[in-house]
């Protein structure tokens, strides 16, 4: 890779050992991924979580070494031109009286949050930064963590980001640079897999099913959807999250809808797809069935807001809960960004949800917290997929309406 004199100087330690290490990460990563140079980055979504819960049982030395790495990163300033937001944590910074919200971990996360803010990060603590003001423009160069947000930024917004991890996003934020490879280059944004959709998609969760099925077929490729209309923002969110759960998708196109696919031909850059699959009503039914492993109907958890709920979803949930009561023994979580919760507070939705016995959870989600559950109902395919392994719970994935009905009844009542 060709470096400028200034970049070379940072690599040689001219700006101190930590920034030299950051430069080394970016240069080594760029070289193995085929980059020829580093280019300026305008927008970073960084991962700065204290990992205790996710690494439950880890030695004190492991946690302390990891957290010291976060502290070191936050002792430097983010690049002046860069918008830098922050991904979810493994705890909520609110008071929450559950053993999983370990006070020591909350204290450390607050410390990191304050340090990050002083460094120039905006501590959004969300997996959906595009819902709380970090909305990159067409062509904007980004360095985003959160696999679902990466797909959303590339596909729906036409911004450009490879799949970033914690070290690369921190390095990008502090140096204002990213290695230029993958979907940052035009030629790597062409579709690889044609997904012909004949299924009727009636809800965000249906779009999640499409993504979950297509992600498996696409692997690391770029699926192109034909035969579907324009998704809503919430539908697009579910599609993108599921694509990066069953697969390792960085971006997709929706023919005639997304900004780089005015036509099907344009989505494939005038070439042919490498493969094609179809998604019928039967595929839709089977995909839901593949993420339902419940052996009974009694439920104890309903998790909504994966990825973090939009204000529109919170309004819908509030309208379904108004004047009703969540069943005894059921935890109803609505996960969202602190910024969105502020809006929900102001508009009265929070009160409606809390009066019904539900709870709005900020900064994290129950699966990130490894909140114990026996049987979970959720409207997110991503949540359903990971909760099975992380929490060890049985899961039922369903549209929002049936999720709320299950919360009120304390048992799964079916889809209709």
């Amino acid at each position: 890779m060709e470096l400028t004199t200034g970049q070379q100087d940072i690599l040689s330690g001219g700006a101190g050992p930590y920034l030299a290490q950051c430069m080394r990460w970016l240069v080594d990563w760029g070289e193995v991924m085929g980059a020829r140079r580093l280019i300026p980055v305008d927008n970073v979504h960084a991962l700065l979580p204290v990992p205790n819960l996710m690494a439950r049982g880890a030695s004190a030395a492991t946690i302390s070494r990891y957290v010291e790495g976060l502290r070191e990163a936050c002792r430097h300033k983010t690049a002046p031109q860069c918008v830098c937001t922050v991904h979810t944590a493994f705890v909520t910074l609110d008071e929450l009286d559950v053993p999983e919200n370990d006070p020591e971990q909350v204290r450390m996360q607050r410390e990191i949050s304050d340090m990050a803010a002083a460094a120039g990060f905006i501590p959004t603590f969300t997996c959906a930064p595009y819902l709380v003001g970090n909305v990159p423009l067409l062509g904007e160069i980004c360095a985003w963590t959160e696999s679902s947000a990466v797909v959303y930024a590339n596909s729906i917004l036409g911004a450009r980001t490879t799949r970033h991890g914690n070290e690369s996003a921190i390095a990008a934020a502090l140096l204002g640079l990213v290695p230029e490879f993958g979907v940052l280059l035009d030629e790597n944004r062409k579709g690889t897999l044609l997904v012909e959709v004949s299924a009727g998609l009636d809800s965000p969760t249906d779009w999640g099913a499409l993504g979950y099925c297509a992600g498996k077929a696409a692997g690391l490729g770029i699926p192109v959807f034909s035969g579907v209309g324009r998704p809503t923002q919430d539908e697009a969110k579910q599609l993108c999250a599921a694509l990066a759960t069953s697969g390792g998708v960085t971006m997709c196109h929706i023919a005639g809808v997304t900004p780089e696919a005015p036509t099907l031909e344009a989505a494939f850059h005038g070439g042919q797809p490498e493969a094609a699959v179809s998604f019928s009503d039967e595929s839709l039914r089977q995909t839901y069935a593949s993420l339902r492993n419940h052996t009974g109907d009694e439920i104890d958890s309903v998790i909504l807001g994966c990825p973090h709920a939009s204000i529109r979803e919170i309004a819908e949930i509030a309208s379904l809960l108004r004047g009703k009561r969540v069943a005894e023994g059921v935890r109803l979580w609505v996960d969202t960004a602190r910024g969105t919760r502020g809006g929900a507070d102001a508009m009265g939705y929070t009160k409606v949800i809390e009066d019904a016995g539900g709870r709005i959870l900020c900064d994290t989600c129950p699966t990130n917290m490894r909140m114990p559950a026996r049987r979970i109902v959720t409207h997110g395919f991503k949540q359903a997929h990971y909760a099975r392994g992380i929490v060890g719970a049985e899961v039922i994935v369903a549209e929002t309406g049936p999720c709320i009905r299950a919360a009120l009844a304390g048992r799964w009542l079916g889809d209709d």
Partner: protein
């Protein structure tokens, strides 16, 4: 012993017992960094430990926290010894770079046909070479 040439993604040399599945794997959410075990329900590697193993899979997938989980697993002594992947997900490459784990791809033979779980594998990414020592079947007398 079989020698297979391939392309080094991340240089270095390591050896260990192979863990092989023609599947993708997300480290966050599908691997516990403290036990080193695959926790993904229904995954072909579910319940297997990655610690010290040469991980032969199609590629990583899923969460962007893969490098983070790899880092925690490394600190806990539970990370794989090396990666042999058919396709390169940038997140695995980043995690291997940061944690000093060798990674290879583009083998001249299909790794799922030529490497079996339990084989002893030397990954010499400095030379672009993999050596496979087939696991000796143990057990009772033949017949």
């Amino acid at each position: 012993m079989t020698e297979i040439r391939g392309r080094a993604v991340v240089k270095g040399r390591a050896e260990g017992e192979a863990l092989v599945a023609d599947a993708m794997l997300s480290f966050w959410g599908e691997v516990d960094p403290v036990s080193g075990e695959v926790i993904a329900v229904g995954h072909p590697l579910q319940g297997q430990s990655l610690a010290g193993r040469v991980l032969v899979i199609r590629s990583t997938k899923g969460s962007s926290a893969t490098p983070m989980v790899l880092n925690l697993a490394k600190l806990e002594g539970k990370a794989p010894a090396a990666f042999v992947n058919v396709e390169v997900d940038g997140l695995a490459a980043l995690g291997c770079i940061v944690n000093g784990i060798p990674m290879m791809t583009d083998l001249e033979q299909d790794p799922f046909a030529s490497i079996r779980t339990g084989d002893h594998v030397v990954v010499d990414a400095d030379q672009g070479l993999i050596c496979v020592m087939v696991k000796q079947e143990s057990g009772g007398p033949i017949g």
